[in-house]
Amino acid sequence: MSEVKTRVGESVKVVASFSPNRFKVHFFNWRDRTYQVQSMNLFHIARDGNKKLYHFAVTAAGNSYELVYNPVTLDWQLEGVVSA
């Protein structure tokens, strides 16, 4: 029994585009390396108190990443990595 999800919890820089009813993450920069997002796989909103946190599961460079956007602080976090 193995676990492949590694928790990261670090701030990242993100390039994203917004249009009506559409939102897309294009790149993120983590530890001075830029990752191009190949696909956005699943999205959900989590609540903590009255805060909404937007979770994006994306694929980049052969791995899966979970990015979390906090619209109150305008902060992006890399929540975790799932490696193959």
């Binding site: 029994m1 193995s2 676990e3 492949v4 999800k5 928790r7 919890g9 696909s39 796989n41 699943l42 959900h44 909103i45 989590a46 609540r47 903590d48 108190g49 009255n50 805060k51 946190l53 979770h55 599961a57 694929t59 052969g62 791995n63 899966s64 979970e66 906090n70 109150v72 602080t73 929540e79 975790g80 799932v82 490696s83 193959a84």
Partner: protein
């Protein structure tokens, strides 16, 4: 009695509209390996591999809450303990549960189902029924099922699949969805019933489980057809008038389960929480803090829903899988965690020298709306209610258990650590995020 003739009998739905079973069409949707499939949708590098979703990750002693289709083929089942799953499948990948993800996606799925029909009945987090218009033909019903599958692929993800069952009643629609997994679609029309009943074991019917099946088998009843042929009097004598009549009816293809929209369902009958302890506890003293935590969580949920209850129940499961439960109705309605805890402790006094404890559960039932209960007359009680209300205001804004009883401080890590390993406190605002002019978060 001939099933085709019998299935055209009419019944009256609440609201007075009579719909013949012949015309009624109920669609049942069952998401395939829901939690695990969503994890594979989120993380494509897990697709095609045996994965198990576990409540507490792989660290603490854990239970597999869901297995992927690949893991199921290797014998992994929901409810299996972590060590059992590991023994069976050493290559199993364990992913911590992300309940926010599952609940959020469920709501999206049910919203998609409402595009197919406005009347849906949510059966569980990954199952729902939809009532199709009686004028719909069976072909159109099948098209609606296919359309729903396309909506799932388009709006949820290409890896997420569901099984669809369509029939003229809820029980048979659910049976139909079980017949082709994963990603199947099955119709049971009135004229199909006799053929399917002859080959389908009774335990395939929702409602016939480990209690009913052995007793029916003892009576020589193994298939749905045999159930239909059993004398109604015998079934009533064995199982009572309600269950006996239902068994006789369903055995003859009379599926009277009435579908009501989940939006018009009555309020909850109870609110409860349970917790499997990280290690067996040998005395009730050790378990008290967990009991207080569970009671506080029940209290928070009651107040959030505007409910208040009078009956407190406690359930304890022991390491040998045995259990003990007790309930008591209180003099007053309560919704405060500490009062619930005190009532639970009083109940636990009846449990003398228990074996090691594995699981604790607290439930409050006999619920009414808070507005229906007389406000307390004494000032100290009103002050206490004000205090609880203020704490709720803080916790609702900054997150559950931002402020909590000091006696729970030793459980703080467990309170703040989410099942997927995150610590929710990292989301608390820092001082720099407070705008000094508005005193609000920037």
């Amino acid at each position: 009695m001939d099933n085709a003739q019998d299935s055209s009998r009419r019944y009256t739905r609440p609201g007075g509209l009579a719909v013949s079973m012949k015309y009624r069409k109920i669609l049942h949707v069952d998401m395939n390996s829901y939690f695990a499939t969503l994890e594979q949708q989120a993380y494509p590098n897990l697709r095609g591999r045996p994965i198990g979703v576990a409540g507490k990750g792989s660290g603490e002693r854990t239970v597999i809450t869901a297995a992927s289709i690949e893991a199921k083929k290797l014998g992994i089942r929901s409810g299996m303990s972590g060590w059992e799953a590991k023994r069976l499948c050493p290559e199993l990948i364990v992913i911590p549960a992300s309940y926010d993800r599952y609940i959020f996606t469920s709501k999206r799925i049910f919203a998609l189902l409402e595009r197919i029909s406005p009347v849906i009945d949510v059966f569980s987090i990954d199952e729902a029924f939809a009532r199709l218009d009686p004028t719909t033909t069976w072909d159109e019903a099948a098209q609606a099922g296919a359309q729903f599958k396309q909506l799932i692929r388009k709006y949820i993800g290409e890896w997420v699949t569901c099984s669809v069952g369509i029939s003229y009643g809820k029980t048979l629609a659910k049976l139909a969805s079980e017949m082709q997994k994963p990603d199947g679609m099955t119709l049971i029309r009135p004229e199909d019933f006799t053929r399917i009943a002859a080959i389908t074991p009774i335990e395939e019917l929702c409602g016939i489980g480990w209690r009913l099946r052995p007793r029916l088998n003892q009576a020589g009843i193994f298939t749905i057809q045999e159930l239909g042929r059993a004398p109604k009097d015998l079934l009533i004598k064995m199982f009572g008038p309600y269950t006996g009549t239902w068994l006789h009816d369903i055995g003859n293809g009379r599926d009277r389960d009435i579908l009501r929209s989940f939006r018009s369902l009555p309020q909850e009958k109870s609110v409860g929480h349970s917790y499997t302890l990280p290690r067996d506890m040998h005395s009730l003293e050790d378990a008290k803090k967990t009991l207080l935590l569970l009671s506080e969580r029940v209290g928070v949920r009651l107040r959030r829903k505007g409910l208040i209850g009078r009956t407190v129940s406690v359930y304890v499961r022991f390491h040998d899988r045995g259990g003990w439960g007790q309930s008591a109705t209180q003099k007053e309605y309560i919704d405060d965690g500490y009062q619930i805890y005190q009532a639970a402790i009083r109940l636990l006094r009846g449990l003398e020298s228990p074996p090691p404890i594995r699981l604790l559960a607290v439930t409050v039932s006999e619920l009414v709306q808070q507005a229906q209960v007389t406000q307390p007359l004494f000032a100290h009680k009103r002050h206490y209610e004000d205090l609880v209300e203020s704490l709720d205001t803080i916790n609702n804004r900054y997150g559950e258990f931002t402020v909590f009883r000091s006696s729970l401080a030793t459980l703080r890590r467990r309170i703040h650590n989410l099942p997927d390993g995150r610590n929710k406190r990292i989301y608390l605002p820092h001082i720099s995020e407070i705008n000094p002019f508005t005193k609000r978060m920037t």
